[in-house]
Symmetry: C2
Subunit: 306 residues, 2 copies
Amino acid sequence: MALLDSLPDAVSVYEVSPRDGLQNEAAQVATHAKVRLIEALMDAGLRRIEIASFVSATWVPQMADADQVARLVPPSDGVRFSALCPNRRGLDRAQRAGVSEIAVFVSASETHNRKNVNKSIARTLKTFEGVIGPALDSGMTVRGYVSTMWGCPYEGEVDPQVGLQIARALLDQGCYQVSLGDTIGVGTPLQTRRILELFFREVPAHAVALHLHDTRGTALANVLVGLEMGVTTFDTSVGGLGGCPFAPGAAGNLATEDLVYALHGMGIDTGINLDRLWQAGQVASAIVGRDLPGKVHRAGIRALSR
Amino acid sequence: MALLDSLPDAVSVYEVSPRDGLQNEAAQVATHAKVRLIEALMDAGLRRIEIASFVSATWVPQMADADQVARLVPPSDGVRFSALCPNRRGLDRAQRAGVSEIAVFVSASETHNRKNVNKSIARTLKTFEGVIGPALDSGMTVRGYVSTMWGCPYEGEVDPQVGLQIARALLDQGCYQVSLGDTIGVGTPLQTRRILELFFREVPAHAVALHLHDTRGTALANVLVGLEMGVTTFDTSVGGLGGCPFAPGAAGNLATEDLVYALHGMGIDTGINLDRLWQAGQVASAIVGRDLPGKVHRAGIRALSR
């Protein structure tokens, strides 16, 4: 495999701003504003959008209106809306709201998983048996997240073998894809290669997505490694919406514009109109009432001075 | 060449914050504050530091105290201070101030070069004959910059062949290294590969450095390409000090901490203590009185929550 000789022709971008991007926002964002953001993202050409999370409103007040958001987004051919569901109760809400895809999530670090969902990894996977099966039975597709793959804020380094076992369990239960999360944005390129080498011994490339946070600026370098190794789905958030809860003021999700700018610069198709995507980033910024950290969002797409 | 199999064991970081970082700061930074920053960088292990620019104080008021800065920095074994010099007058000042290395600069884009130094590229190179030779004769080393290699804010795309001709002229005149600049931060990885492939047909890898701006988030991905192709010198600015003059609020220079974090994560030696480097970034931020865009600068090095 020569350097940059095995890049894919096309990449699928999985947009997480309405869910992962907004979930840590302290000020409640109005339902119609969330719908406006989702519409702007659709207008830019995004075809996979995680629109909400069906979790307890007590735990994540920002997602209390998930049912309304899901009902208000305009159905569109070729656009798949998904929603995060931790349990059967979440699935019931997702089904009633007409969402066609759900995402389940578990951490590769025991401590992070307990802090996040108050259960062991094993019990979380057991819970999913009552979620994934019924979801598939009702015609939904199911995606899985394995978070803290590159490191845990409580345990430090994480054994990628543990993440692989979890990913296999999720795929065995019926997830069509597992998205590996660098939840705290600590990953570097050789580490990414090691994780993917391990995975690709047992899992096909199309079943693996990368969900990278750009907290330490390494996300796009890790994307490059993923691209060369066969990954063709990347999770991003427009404008880089979604901070790092462990470092106020620091960046979180890789910005969709930054990914798409780099991909288009390498001739890789995304189906996304970058100008409209940039406009969607302006909507995101207006909705939360502050500057977002995305680089293309801040600098603009083109550099020509006028 | 397999993916990430040809990484170097060590990289030389060329720090530009006291010059490229500060030169666009509107508020005058006190001379002693500049010296404090340089000392903090030395304390972190940086061995190549561009401390000032001997240009007209009318054009760049921030560099009016270049002579004093050069006289006040403490000489240290193994540390090479350099200063930007556009002409013979600048060289005279650099020599009187005791600087051991100068850097000359020219743009690969005719319009950018004229806007920058009010001369054609050819006349600029001719001027350098009266700078580089005398500098070498006096025992100095000379480095060359070729800016706007990845794109020009006035002309758009730039022919890398033009940049190569300029680089060869600079090397022929006696520069030990040419630093290729993505001045406006538009470069993407395949473009970086194309530029380096062209250069390495005629120029040895040790004679080429990359001076990347992170304006659109691609700098570290481009570094990865450079590393794999044999580049071992990268120009950076602590904290990402130094904005993009064409996009207020946008990032400019690649942050030294972001580069070093990624390099150390891949086991590549830099001789730099990242904790002390982070402290130097705090000095830089305090000096200019505002937050800097560097990601590691903002997020911190380690992710463990306490």
